[in-house]
Chain length 747, copies 2
């Protein structure tokens, strides 16, 4: 299991040459640098000295932290019953291991929800299971090829719909444009073969572009692909539903509902994890391939019988002239037939070793199949005079024409719908993985590093499902409205990835670099042409969202990175200042006072603090002398640090009353009354604490606030929320720690 080594290499190496793509569950915990470890050692030796000086071993605890003696002894408590299951087992000497059952909630509604979730997603998977989630070639092919192959269900139709605007005669342009597209497919496919060889551990556009062209290009490619994945889901689901409604027109009014159900199923399936998704969805691609081969074979055979006679398409009024603009637009629409070609390069880590070799094989087979299907269908459309219609897809028309309306027709439609569903599923694999890489480089929220309890990146999966469902519903599930948004992002990513490869070969100049560079250069150029063509010709139809959205996304990513950089510097361990370094512990109370010259700066970064440098004052806000207040007061007093009770009084009479009670209490601790004539509670307290803290003594104020925790849950609304409001108001104050002492009531 080489997970740790890989991930550690990625983050500790200052300039990773070949970025690793290993997915590790502990990626969120960045390892310390050697310098930080040195500082840690210095700090630790100082602390040990300080703590030894206090007398008694700090390793003597009132309880046994290993739980060895009472792993089973957990007893039910009033507010959170402990299920009588073995929750911890013994691991390494100072380690307890959580068992599976310990994750389940104990409350009744929580338990029901939990069971439903388990039913849907299956039992949690151990982190150590992560390596097993790999796919054989014969499983990887259908899963990864589905996105690419399914594109023939909407790409040709999108192209012909544009041409149709110029009338029937313009349809003759379809064949030359198809030839150009096939050239493009070969060029980009070959180009990606180079990439896979050069980046054997994972060759996603984001990684390749970042590595060779810098982070901005990488982010642009990443943002392009993210939009692409969202649209892949929307478009594939839309086309899949269309395949169904072509066969059963009465379902047409429920397009949006059916699509949302499909997305929900994909969401659930993917939360279960990669492996299951692979096996679950392997069959449809093969079934679809069989359907297409049969369709093309029978179609060509029949046409051959009639001497390949061309049926003229139905006459169509032209609403636009045949311009170069229109042709380019048709080409850009047809280029959506090859979306998904990048799937293999992204997914190399889920291939079985040797990953890059298997990946290349799968890619070659995929592109070959794509060209065969695309060419075959275009020829049959041409021969059969089939043109786009409002209520029936061209594939459905062709199947009707070839097989009639029987079970063979139904088979074609069903497998088409299934492979489109599977194509959407590919995006569910790729989108979270890309976000993982971006998050690992601090360009996306760290939450996307988190592996769910089924080892999937649940956060990314959920974000994708929500985004795709939103776009789908907003555009009413119409494929033709979604297509214009589609091509720009993909081809931008292709361009940047191939351009990155050009730079890569130029820098390395390994054997055969000239040839490789030429191939990638051609791929980059052609992709760039398509990206620009798509952006320009479809700008007003919706592509503007993507054209403006991608730069915006890049800016957001850079801003996120800037924040994490600031936080990283703030959190990094610095060497202690020399004053603290040389100081030795003196076991007298004076030693715990910070010398005045070591004053912490009021404005600026949080500084490292040694235990003996912290002066304490516990502040206990008390509204009324009841048992909850006494609890908080007793807790504060028992810490053995100075305590000050504070009472916020709404008027003077009340203040007098309270002072009298405190006298009666015997005045065991100092009390300060803050008169709040405007009856606010939180604001005056916060201001008072701020004023106290502004005092040069620089004590750490610990606000000990008692909070009534009442059951059943609705009764919580019957109590004031002062503890919660206070916590929120005090968050921004430096040097103020908030301690919540719960007081439990049930009834």
């Amino acid at each position: 299991m080489k997970l740790k080594a890989g991930s550690a290499g990625a983050t500790s190496a200052p300039d990773p040459v070949a970025p690793t793509v290993v997915l590790s569950p502990s990626e969120q915990l960045r390892p310390l640098s050697e310098g930080e470890l040195d500082v840690l050692e210095q700090i630790g030796s100082h602390w040990a000295e300080v703590l030894r000086g206090r007398g008694g071993s700090p390793h003597t605890l009132p309880v046994d932290p290993s739980l060895r003696r009472y792993a089973e002894a957990a007893s039910p408590t009033r507010f959170g019953r402990i299920a009588r299951v073995r929750m911890f087992t013994q691991g390494a000497p100072d380690e307890v291991v959580e068992t599976e059952q310990a994750g389940s909630p104990r409350s009744r509604p929580g338990g029901v929800l939990h069971s439903m979730r388990r039913l849907m997603t299956g039992p949690p998977l151990r982190s150590s299971a992560v390596m097993e989630e790999r796919m054989r070639k014969l499983v990887a092919l259908p899963v990864l090829a589905s996105d690419l192959l399914s594109s023939v269900a909407y790409g040709p139709q999108a192209m012909l719909m544009v041409l149709m605007l110029a009338g029937t005669a313009a349809l003759a342009l379809a064949l030359p444009i198809s030839v150009a597209l096939i050239v493009l497919m070969v060029a980009v496919g070959t180009s990606y073969r180079q990439t896979i060889r050069a980046y054997p551990s994972g060759a996603g556009s984001y990684l390749v572009a970042s590595d060779n062209l810098g982070p901005r290009a990488g982010l642009a490619a990443g943002a392009g692909l993210l939009t692409d994945y969202v649209l892949t889901v929307s478009v594939s689901i839309a086309a899949g539903i269309q395949a169904i409604t072509s066969a059963i027109p009465s379902l047409t009014p429920y397009t949006v509902e059916l699509g949302l159900i499909a997305i929900a199923i994909l969401l659930a399936g993917n939360l279960r994890g990669v492996r299951q998704a692979g096996y679950l969805f392997a069959a449809p691609t093969y079934a679809f391939l069989v359907a297409m081969l049969a369709l093309i074979g029978v179609g060509l055979a029949r046409s051959g019988v009639h001497g390949f006679a061309v049926t003229p398409p139905p006459a169509q009024m032209a609403t636009e002239a045949v311009t170069l603009f229109l042709i380019v637009r048709a080409f850009a629409s047809g280029a959506t037939s090859m979306t998904g070609i990048e799937a293999v390069s992204n997914a190399l880590p889920v291939m079985r070793p040797v990953e890059w070799r298997n990946g290349r094989t799968v890619l070659t087979v995929m592109v070959g199949l794509l060209i065969f299907l695309f060419a075959g269908l275009m020829i049959l459309f041409h021969l059969g005079g089939i043109v786009p219609q409002a209520n029936e897809t061209m594939l459905s028309q062709l199947a009707h024409r070839t097989f009639g309306g029987g079970s063979l027709y139904a088979y074609v439609q069903i497998t088409t719908a299934l492979i489109l569903l599977l194509a959407a599923n590919t995006a569910f694999n790729d989108f979270p993985r890309l976000l993982f890489f971006m998050a690992r480089d601090y360009y996306a929220p760290r939450a996307f590093l988190r592996m769910g309890d089924r080892l999937g990146f649940s956060n990314g999966i959920i974000v994708l499902a929500v985004a795709a469902a939103t776009i789908f519903a907003v555009l009413g599930g119409r494929t033709e409205a979604l297509i214009p948004l589609y091509a720009v992002g993909v081809f931008l990513a292709f361009t940047l990835s191939q351009a990155g490869m050009v730079v890569h070969w130029w820098r390395r100049r390994t054997r055969g670099w000239r040839r490789s560079m030429a191939i990638n250069g051609l791929g980059a150029t052609l992709s760039a042409v398509v990206a620009v063509a798509a952006g320009v010709t479809k700008f007003t139809e919706g592509a503007w969202i993507v054209v403006f959205g991608i730069p915006l996304a890049v800016l957001v990513c850079l801003r996120i990175r800037r924040h994490y950089d600031v936080v990283g510097r703030a959190l990094a361990l610095h060497a202690l200042p020399p004053t603290a370094r040389g100081r030795r512990f003196v076991p007298a109370p004076e030693a715990w006072r910070r010398p005045p010259q070591a004053k912490r700066p009021a404005v600026g970064q949080e500084q490292e603090e040694s235990p003996e440098e912290i002066d304490h004052l516990a502040i206990v806000p008390i509204a009324r002398m009841d048992l909850a207040s006494l609890h908080a007061l007793a807790y504060a007093a028992s810490l053995g640090q100075p305590v000050l009770a504070v009472h916020i009084s709404p008027d003077e009479d009340e203040a007098t009353d309270f002072r009298r009670q405190w006298q009666r209490f015997g005045d065991p601790l100092p009390l300060e009354i803050v008169d709040s004539p405007y009856r606010a509670i939180v604001a005056p307290l916060v201001h008072y604490l701020e004023a106290l803290h502004a005092h040069p003594a620089e004590v750490t104020l610990t606000v000990v606030v008692s909070e009534i925790v009442s059951r059943p849950l609705w009764t919580q609304a019957l109590h004031n929320q002062v503890a919660r409001r206070l916590r929120r108001a005090l968050r921004p104050l430096p040097g103020v720690v908030v301690t919540t002492v719960p007081f439990h009531v049930s009834g």
Copy 2:
């Protein structure tokens, strides 16, 4: 200023004979009973002994709590700049007083919101200003009478609409029903005069019914009145908008919008406070009275010129037969003309002294005016043959007929709309006050005791506005849809209040008790008849909501009371157990250990704890050895109590790494690693703490968790929410205290 005395009496007396109605800002802080003070004294002397034993005076603090020396010295800090204003002034010896400016927030968006709010509600009012908020009779009359008098704008019309169902002939029944209603007005009015005399400090139905018939009857009356106030707002606003749309029919489609704007204006006005509301809204009632007197005078004079000839009403198809049911229904609808008659008795505390005498005068004048207006209008409607129409109110028809369409007509419509607005405003005075009383008796959430910074009960005001706006919008602002819900609640409250008075007189037998009892008995009987009639005849039209809603509300109130009783018992100070009582402090570490026999029960109530009984163990969850973790660790170590660091590890490699780091750190404190193979963080930690706490040693676990606080606010989403989730998950655990150590980052 006798505020405190009054409120203290109300809560400490076990069975208050005459419940006080003084509104005090410190009502939320229930004073201690004498028994509790005794216990407090005992506990305090024990504590003093314990704390003395620790050496050093607990009254020596590292800072000066009085802020005397540096009231002005507050310096800007990074996360919450202190405005350089004098925030505290010196009060009594151990008291600082917050100034007005201290309430203002320091962040920019917060400041803008704050300024807008101040602009709307005015500067905060001091608690000591509460007594000044009283109204002279000439101000009280318009404010309190508006609800009652404005009812003539919709009551007669509601009655005639029912009669119209039986055709034109049935309209002849209007006059006898009106006579019956006038009898009812006199009876209820006289009955309330008795009540005001008997309860000079406030005679709301809730108080009177609770006092004489028990809490359930009181709650039923209270719930009835609360629904009544909500409906008063909705109905009055609906009728007011109708007055406007009668004059300007083109505004009719905007009924709902106009109504919601009106409710928003009332909300804003009332958040400003009682006094301003009084002056602001005094004029319209007088203007309306002038309008009505002119209308009735001119109308009768004109009619007299024609020898009081009766114009026959337009012929109308009968859709129902004239049944007793219909007559009773018409009577119940007409009875809405007298809603608001209880306003004076509720509002006695805002009258100038002598309250009850002024209240009676105002009530008598009000009822006299009501009868005059009601009778006058009914006669004019009859003479003019005016019947309800869909688009124009009867009052508008009458004004048209009497004055034509000129400025006098406009004056009538405008003043009608204004007095209806003012009537809705009365509810804004009464609703929060009633909730205050119910909350003081623990039947409603304590939040309704809170006086806003303008001395109004902001929470009640807001609840009323939201409820009324919701009902108004749901029923589309149609008066006729609202009326059926209206009468039941009011007359139920009248009935219970008058029945309570019967019991009152029977018990007291003061001079003239027989006569008073007879008057109240008659009032109760007549009110009961109306309440039942309204409930039965309008049941299917919407009254069922109220008929079922009121008992439900009573149950909810009782449930709330039960909860507060449980909490009250749990919070009450109990005497210390004998073991702790006799124990003397021994200044050795052993003395701080709890003897085994004094073990706190695991299930049951929270017990009083003395500082020396609390054994501490600080738990510091650490994800990564960074500065934030070191902060938390240093804080925990500096408390001088045992510390245990806990690391939750997602896999074994990571655990090994972390253990190595800890060794490098020098192992200054004990560390426990909890292996969480399913990658959860919060759940294993909570279970681990639960298991630790289940250990017989019964230590108090303090979980010291570091929390990254980052600015600007959106960056908070880039950090994990473990601290927040941990706090929520640990809330239910007894004996677990959570301490949040903030780590501030900006960027």
